[in-house]
C-alpha cells in the first residue's frame, strides 16, 4: 500500500500545460521534497494533492483510495502555507482547534489534542495570543500545530520557511526534521531551496516545466544526476559540464574535451548501457568539490590548468580555471593559496564523474 500515489496526472491553466503526465509514489513515513525553479509546477502539484485545484487528467490515491474528486477536508491531509495563513481574528488556540471543531470532534478529544500538540511544539504559553502578536518563528510553529492536531495521514508543506530570515530558517529546518524523526509522518514538502531539500528529504523529486526530472534519494540526486538539468540545478556552484567526445578502443573508454588532446580515462564509471553508446558527443560532468589541490586517491587525474578568478567566501574559495577555453570551477578550503594567471597542478577525482549525452542531455 502506498500512502500517496499519483498516476498520469496532467493539469493545464487554459492553454498552458503546468503538469505533464506526473507519476509519483510515496511510502508511509517518507519525507518527499518537490524541488524546482519557480514556475515548474511544484506548488500546483501540492495544491492538487490537497484537493484545492482540480485535475484535468489522471488520478490521486491516498492509501489506495482514489481521492481525485474528494473535498480537501475529507482527504485526511493537513497543509502548512508559506504565509502561515493563520486566521487573523482568532487566537492561537482557536486557530489550532478550528479544524477539529469543523469535524465535530468531542470537546474532551479537542482539549487532549490541543494540550498534546501545544506542549510538543512549546506554544502552550501563547494560546491566548492573536497571530499578529507572534514572531515569525512562533507563527510558523502555530501553523504546524494547526496541522498536527488533526493527525492527518499526509502533511503538505508549501515553502513554509521562505518568509523567515536566514538564521531562523536554519533553526526551523532542524525542527521540522526533528518533528519528522519523532512522529514518522508522511510529508510532501515544496521548496525551491536545494539545501532545505537535501537536508530534509528522504526522497527528492526534481521538477522542471511540469515534468519530474528525477525522483530519488538525496545521495543519488547529488552523485548520479539523471540529466544535465538536475546536475546543473543541484550543487552550488553547479556541476562543471565539459563538452567533448568519448573514444572507445577495445575495453578502454576515454574522454577528450573539445579543443584539447588530453585523454581522460573513464575507468570507474557505471554506464547505463555500455554496448549502446551510439552518440560519442557527451558532457563530462565533475563537481567543483571533486577537483582537489592535493592528490587524495590513487586514480586521481593530474591536470595543469590556469587559474583566472578567485572568489573568497570565508570557509572556502571558488576558483575559476581555464580548460581549453571552457570554464571549470573548483572549490578549495580558503587556507590554500592559489596564484592567478598561472598554471596550477590539480587532481580530478575520476570516481565522481557523470557523463551525459549531448543531444538529449540524459545520463549515459
Amino acid at each position: 500500500m502506498k500512502t500517496l500515489k499519483i498516476e498520469d496526472l496532467s493539469k493545464n491553466f487554459g492553454s498552458t500545460e503546468v503538469l505533464k503526465k506526473i507519476n509519483l509514489e510515496i511510502d508511509e513515513g517518507n519525507f518527499l521534497v518537490l524541488l524546482g525553479p519557480s514556475g515548474c509546477g511544484k506548488s500546483t502539484l501540492l495544491n492538487i494533492i490537497a484537493g484545492l485545484e482540480t485535475i484535468n487528467e489522471g488520478n490521486v490515491y491516498i492509501d489506495d483510495y482514489n481521492v481525485s474528486k474528494v473535498e480537501p477536508k475529507d482527504r485526511n491531509i493537513a497543509m502548512v502555507f508559506q504565509s502561515y495563513a493563520l486566521y487573523p481574528s482568532m487566537n492561537v488556540k482557536e486557530n489550532m482547534i478550528f479544524g477539529l471543531k469543523q469535524a465535530k470532534t468531542s470537546k474532551e478529544k479537542i482539549e487532549e489534542q490541543l494540550k498534546k500538540v501545544s506542549s510538543f511544539l512549546q506554544v502552550d504559553s501563547l494560546l491566548e495570543r492573536k497571530p499578529s502578536q507572534l514572531s515569525g518563528g512562533q507563527r510558523q510553529r502555530v501553523a504546524i500545530g494547526r496541522a498536527l492536531v488533526r493527525e492527518p495521514r499526509i502533511f503538505l508543506f508549501d515553502e513554509p520557511l521562505s518568509n523567515l530570515d536566514a538564521k531562523l530558517r536554519v533553526e526551523m529546518r532542524r525542527e521540522i526534521k526533528k518533528l519528522h524523526q519523532q512522529l514518522k509522518t508522511t510529508v510532501v514538502y515544496v521548496t525551491h531551496d536545494q539545501t532545505e531539500a537535501m537536508s530534509l528529504g528522504t526522497k527528492i523529486a526534481i521538477m522542471n516545466h511540469g515534468v519530474i526530472q528525477q525522483n530519488d534519494t538525496p545521495e543519488n540526486i547529488y552523485n548520479k544526476p539523471s540529466n544535465t538539468f538536475v546536475a546543473d540545478f543541484i550543487g552550488s556552484p553547479s556541476m562543471n559540464l565539459i563538452k567533448g567526445n568519448l573514444k572507445q578502443n577495445s575495453d578502454n573508454i576515454s574522454f577528450i574535451a573539445e579543443g584539447s588532446n588530453l585523454e581522460i580515462p573513464i575507468k570507474h564509471y557505471d554506464f547505463k548501457n555500455k554496448s549502446e553508446l551510439s552518440n560519442n558527443e557527451v558532457y563530462f560532468g565533475i563537481r567543483p568539490e571533486h577537483i582537489y589541490f592535493k592528490k587524495l586517491n590513487e586514480d586521481d587525474l593530474e591536470i595543469n590548468l590556469r587559474a583566472d578568478l578567485s572568489e573568497y567566501i570565508g570557509h572556502e574559495q571558488i576558483v575559476t580555471f581555464n580548460f581549453s577555453n571552457q570554464e571549470i570551477l573548483a572549490k578549495f578550503p580558503s587556507t590554500i593559496n592559489v596564484e592567478l594567471n598561472k598554471e596550477t597542478k590539480l587532481y580530478v577525482d575520476l570516481t565522481q564523474v557523470s557523463l551525459f549525452d549531448s543531444k538529449n542531455e540524459e545520463r549515459i
Binding site: 473535498e71 502555507f81 495563513a85 469543523q102
Partner: protein, 301 residues
C-alpha cells in the same frame, strides 16, 4: 584662520535658513487659516441665522452674533407650529429617512461584501466580466435609469414607499460596495481560504468566521459612503416618492421652496442643519477608520 572664516559663513547661512523657515511656517499657517475660515464660514452663517429671530434677520446683519439665543426656529423646523393644513416640518420625514437608510445601507454593504468575497476568493469563468459590468454601474448617470426604475417599482407595487426607495438605493449601491470589498479582499492572501477549506469550513463559514471579522476597516468605509449617499440623495427621493413617504431631503426642499408664506430664514437654516446632522455624526464616530480603510486596501502589499 581659514577655519574660522568658514564657520562664520556657515553661521550666516544658518541664520538665513532660520529666517526663511520662520517665514515659510507663518505663511503656511496663514494659508491654512484662510482656507479653513473659507470652509467654516457658511456653517457659521447658518448656525447664527438659525438662532436669530426674524426681526433680527430683517435688519440685514448677516454676520453678527444673535442678540439672544433663540431656539424657537429649531423647534418649528423639527415639530411644526401645531396648526393643521400646510404645516410642513421635518420630524416624520426624518424617520422616513432613517427607515430608508438603515436597511439600504445594511443590504447594500452585505451584498457588496458577499460579491467582493466571491469575485476574489471563489474565482469562476468570466468573473472579470461580471466585475467589469458591475463597475459600469458606478458610472451610469442616475437620470438615465429613472424611467425604467419607476416602471419596475410600479410592477412590483412598491412605488411611493420607503421599501421602494430601499430597493433602489440597495441596487445602485452594490457597484460601489462591491468595488470597495473586492479591492480589500484582493489584498488578503488566498491561502487563508485554502487553509480554512482544508480545515473543513464551507463557503459561508469562511465568509462569516474568517473574512468578515477582519473586514472592519472596509465595512466602516462602505457604511459611511453608503450612508452619506443615501441620506443626501434627492433625485431618487423626489422621483420615486411624494407626500408622506418622502425622505428628509425632499421634505427640506418642500419646506424651503414653499411659496405660501413669508420666507423664514431661521427655520430654513435650522432645517438644513438638522438634515445634515446624521451624516456629520457618522463621520465623527467613524471618520478615523475612513481614511485608514480607504488606504489599507490599496497600500497593504
Amino acid at each position: 584662520m581659514q577655519g574660522s572664516l568658514q564657520s562664520s559663513s556657515y553661521k550666516k547661512l544658518e541664520q538665513k535658513s532660520k529666517y526663511t523657515n520662520i517665514f515659510l511656517r507663518w505663511f503656511l499657517y496663514f494659508v491654512l487659516i484662510l482656507f479653513a475660515s473659507y470652509f467654516i464660514f457658511p456653517l457659521y452663517v447658518m448656525i447664527v441665522t438659525s438662532l436669530k429671530t426674524m426681526e433680527e434677520i430683517r435688519q440685514g446683519t448677516l454676520l453678527t452674533w444673535p442678540s439672544a439665543l433663540n431656539f424657537e426656529s429649531w423647534g418649528v423646523a423639527w415639530g411644526g407650529r401645531g396648526y393643521g393644513a400646510g404645516d410642513t416640518y421635518l420630524k416624520p420625514y426624518f424617520w422616513n429617512s432613517i427607515k430608508m437608510v438603515v436597511p439600504a445601507v445594511f443590504f447594500s454593504t452585505f451584498i457588496g461584501a458577499m460579491a467582493g468575497y466571491v469575485l476574489t476568493k471563489w474565482r469562476f469563468k468570466g468573473d472579470k466580466w461580471v466585475f467589469l459590468f458591475l463597475l459600469f454601474g458606478c458610472f451610469i448617470p442616475y437620470q438615465a435609469i429613472l424611467l425604467p426604475m419607476a416602471r419596475t417599482l410600479g410592477v412590483l407595487g412598491i412605488s411611493n414607499s420607503v421599501i421602494g426607495l430601499v430597493l433602489v438605493h440597495t441596487v445602485y449601491g452594490i457597484p460601489f460596495t462591491t468595488l470597495f470589498f473586492r479591492n480589500f479582499y484582493v489584498s488578503i492572501p488566498s491561502e487563508l481560504v485554502k487553509a480554512a477549506r482544508i480545515d473543513g469550513a464551507g463557503f459561508f463559514k469562511i465568509f462569516f468566521k474568517i473574512l468578515l471579522p477582519i473586514s472592519t476597516p472596509i465595512i466602516v468605509v462602505t457604511v459611511i459612503w453608503q450612508f452619506t449617499q443615501i441620506w443626501n440623495d434627492f433625485l431618487f427621493g423626489s422621483t420615486f416618492s411624494f407626500g408622506e413617504a418622502a425622505p428628509i431631503q425632499v421634505a427640506l426642499n418642500n419646506m424651503v421652496l414653499s411659496s405660501t408664506s413669508v420666507k423664514e430664514y431661521n427655520v430654513d437654516m435650522a432645517s438644513a442643519i438638522i438634515a445634515g446632522i446624521p451624516t456629520l455624526i457618522v463621520y465623527v464616530l467613524a471618520g478615523k477608520y475612513f481614511i485608514r480603510g480607504l488606504t489599507s486596501g490599496a497600500v497593504k502589499g
